[in-house]
């Protein structure tokens, strides 16, 4: 696909454009980390977009109130974690279906963000904070470094820790995992905390880049995150998936959007094409899996 796009528009394969694409996809990719954990565990989180908005505005308020950047970021992460905790606890202990609970939280968090800011955006932060998005580490834009670091940590968590193993077990067969002595409800709750924190991290990046926190930010982020996760090969029924796949899924979507943009395709048509790609990608993945079994 990259080759085709390069043939069509030479600007595509320049470093500048590549970096641009990667920066654009950072936000979605980070949210998708949390979504991947949740989907592998057999659940779904529809509230991530609203959580991005909610933690974003609390972050902004803290900064405006004079808090140091680190402290404000901590506030945002705490808000994300707490919201995720509520999601996870009600799902695991209250046994509400994840779809319903996170759908409700989607509304609740959005409402909370609007209430908190009275519907108005908060803008204007210090350069120090903004360097999270504008700075460079060893010449590479900070958002890209941040995304890679987060993926590295998350991948390690999924593949090498007990927690990660339990995530796969719970998604693959919750009862068998429970009968192996694993505290299933606790770990299920934690998975949603991970998703909440991922949304908060994305909010930090977004706020730093735009220099604004809006209560209406993050709309439809959940769909992009799910798309990235699913294109990356994670099964919606749980128990299977990798973060590497999700990263590729996120990049695929970003490259596609970027390419179509450069080609001057209208954004309406873009939406159609991207939707089509998602469907095809999942179909192909299913066929490959079926052949393997």
């Amino acid at each position: 696909m990259c080759l085709l796009l390069w043939a069509l528009t030479p600007h595509f394969l320049t470093i500048a454009n590549a970096l641009n694409v990667m920066e654009q996809t950072a936000i979605n990719a980070i949210v998708a980390v949390g979504m991947t954990y949740v989907i592998i565990a057999g659940g779904i989180d529809l509230s991530v977009g609203s959580l991005v908005a909610f933690s974003g505005v609390t972050l902004a308020a803290a900064l405006k109130a004079g808090w140091p950047a680190a402290g404000a970021v901590a506030v945002a992460l705490a808000v994300g974690a707490l919201s995720g905790f509520v999601n996870g606890a009600v799902i695991s202990f209250g046994r509400l279906p994840p779809f319903i609970m996170t759908l409700g939280m989607m509304s609740v968090a959005r409402g909370a963000a609007l209430l908190f800011t009275d519907g108005r955006p908060i803008s204007g932060f210090g350069a120090g904070f903004r360097s999270i998005a504008t700075g460079r580490v060893l010449g590479v834009p900070a958002p890209i470094v941040l995304t890679l670091v987060i993926y590295g940590v998350a991948h390690f968590g999924l593949s090498r820790t007990r927690f990660g193993r339990y995530v796969y077990g719970i998604g693959g067969n919750e009862e068998a995992t429970r009968l192996s002595g694993v505290a299933v409800r606790f770990h299920k709750t934690m998975v949603y905390v991970v998703s909440g924190v991922a949304s908060a991290v994305a909010a930090v990046l977004l706020t730093a880049r735009l220099n604004t926190a809006q209560p209406i930010a993050g709309i439809m982020y959940e769909l992009d995150a799910i798309a990235a996760t699913v294109i990356g090969g994670t099964s919606l029924s749980g128990g299977e998936g990798t973060l590497a796949g999700t990263l590729i899924g996120a990049l695929t979507m970003a490259v596609l959007r970027n390419g179509l943009n450069l080609l001057g395709v209208s954004s309406f048509l873009q939406q159609l094409v991207i939707g089509g790609v998602i469907i095809v990608a999942v179909l192909v993945d299913l066929m490959i899996k079926e052949k393997r079994a």
């Binding site: 077990g169 067969n173 009862e175 009968l179 002595g181 694993v182 128990g239």
Partner: protein, 500 residues
């Protein structure tokens, strides 16, 4: 004995089928006569289910032909098979649990006008189909409210409604009690009397002798012989199947038991356990017998902490541990091999290594990070020790056979240092060769001082492998018997509440 029917209804000639890396069937001939119950016998992997899947249209044959009533036919989909009158009943029933009996029987053939279902006709047709199998059940009842035995008969009714001439039954009795098995056999006799032919796949030798007309033995993808069931002994059949002499089906090595390991004192639970007291000592296999619904699985789950208890105590080595979660039980050294190993015992998408390690990860990790090396080493050790047939420990367990999967579950508890194993139907759905291996493993475990609480619905197995037997009924202990002195009749009497 059923009527020796007319000519061959169905002939499968020189059927071959290969999958990447393995030849499943190699020139198999299979003749089926009208009105007979033709048993298909063979170890797991011998090719029985492959042959039947070709017949039912789930697989395509590589070579050979299928002939029905003298005409060669092509079966390329399950629908083709159905149209030709071939109905298959797998262990996993193909009913929709949320629909009613009538809706299930007539699924796809509902009497309708312009797409709207005629409910009265539906009910009437269903009632007639149920009468044909002698099942007295309200056609408007949801299928998931019926017991397994009744669900199976609904499946038979469904097949008959579709004018089946060949009925393939795969392990139909594994979840049934003795009484229900007799009912099923009555249905089979009715059905064959009207000319339908039954292919019966099972490992339960006593049943085969009772219901079967002829038997075909498959071994390693080849048909090694077809015999009338009266003309051949069990030993001879087993020899044909496994190519080895399996003289004693139950190689139990009883020894003097050691100290008390598990003690239940007046244990009760809302799930269906009432005032149960029993003991298991080191080195003992204690059998738990009873009819389906007697509360044995419920008791096992309470002992393991999977379900909450409402009264009484559970003690290990004399210390009270009454577990509230499986974690408590595992910490006290108890392991559970569940009845339904696919749904409760294993995470099918994960590997052998990961399944074995699941309860023990805490011991093999520091700061939450699992030591792959230690996990791998433990898995390899048990795979070798228990002779688990798998290409590698990284193989996903979904690909392994029933007997092998059971060994993986066992390995998990051995790796977790379990001293008391609660085994719920340990050899269900396991072929003869693997069964013997599992019995030998049970011997080894008790030799080493472990204790086993074995739930089994196969009376010969209960009598053959246990040292002592408790019989349960309606959630209570009905009788305690010494295995060497007990007989099947005595156990059955107690199970039915008729003990003197």
């Amino acid at each position: 004995m059923t009527l020796q029917g007319g000519g061959a209804v169905l002939e499968m000639r020189a059927i071959s089928k290969a999958f990447p890396g393995v030849v499943a069937l190699d020139g198999v001939d299979f003749h089926l006569r009208a009105g007979e119950v033709h048993v298909l016998l063979g170890e797991n992997g011998a090719g029985k289910s492959t042959l039947m899947k070709i017949l039912s249209g789930a697989y395509a044959r590589d070579a050979g032909e299928i002939v029905i009533d003298g005409q060669p036919v092509i079966i390329s989909s399950p629908r083709d098979a159905q149209v030709l009158g071939i109905a298959t009943m797998y262990q996993e029933l193909s009913l929709v649990p949320q629909l009613t009996v009538a809706e299930n029987i007539l699924l796809g053939h509902e009497p309708s006008r312009a797409g709207v279902i005629h409910r009265a006709k539906l009910r009437e047709s269903a009632r007639r189909a149920l009468q044909d199998v002698g099942l007295d059940v309200d056609p408007d009842r949801r299928v998931d409210r019926l017991g397994i035995a009744e669900q199976q008969m609904v499946e038979v009714a469904k097949a008959l409604f579709r004018r089946a001439r060949v009925l393939v039954m795969d392990e139909p009795t594994s979840a049934l009690t003795a009484r229900e098995i007799q009912r099923l056999f009555d249905v089979i006799r009715r059905v064959t009397a009207s000319g339908v032919a039954v292919v019966y796949i099972s490992h339960r030798m006593r049943e085969l002798a009772e219901i079967g007309t002829r038997v075909t033995v498959l071994r390693d993808g080849r048909a090694v012989g077809t015999f009338p069931l009266g003309d051949i002994s069990f030993d001879a059949l087993i020899r044909l199947m496994a190519n080895r002499e399996v003289r004693d089906h139950f190689p139990r090595r009883r020894r003097a038991p050691g100290n008390e390991l598990l003690r239940l004192e007046h244990l009760s639970a809302v799930s269906g356990v009432h005032d149960v007291s029993l003991t298991v000592r080191q080195g003992e296999i204690v059998g738990l017998a009873g009819l389906l619904g007697a509360g044995r699985t419920e008791l096992a789950r309470v002992v393991f902490g999977a379900d909450p208890s409402s009264g009484g105590r559970v003690l290990m080595h004399g210390r009270e541990i009454t577990p509230k979660t499986p974690r408590d039980a595992i910490a006290a050294g108890i392991g559970l091999l569940p009845e339904d190993r696919k749904r409760q015992g294993l995470v099918l998408a994960l590997s052998v290594c990961e399944n074995i390690g699941l309860p023990s990860l805490a011991r093999w990790s520091r700061l939450g990070i699992v030591s792959d090396r230690r996990e791998w080493a433990a898995a390899e050790r048990w795979v070798t020790d228990l002779r688990i047939k798998t290409p590698s420990v990284a193989e996903r367990v979904v690909r392994l056979s029933g007997g092998t999967q059971q060994k993986v579950v066992l390995a998990r508890w051995l790796a977790a240092d379990a001293r008391l194993l609660v085994m719920d139907e340990p050899t269900r759905g396991v072929d003869v060769g693997a069964k013997v291996e599992i019995y030998e493993l049970m011997n080894r475990l008790t030799d080493a001082g472990a204790g086993i609480l074995m739930i089994s619905s196969e009376l010969p197995e209960v009598l053959g492998m246990s040292d002592r037997i408790y019989v349960m009924r309606h959630g209570r202990i009905q009788a305690e018997l010494d295995a060497t002195a007990a007989t099947e009749e005595r156990v059955l009497q107690a199970a039915l509440g008729l003990a003197s």
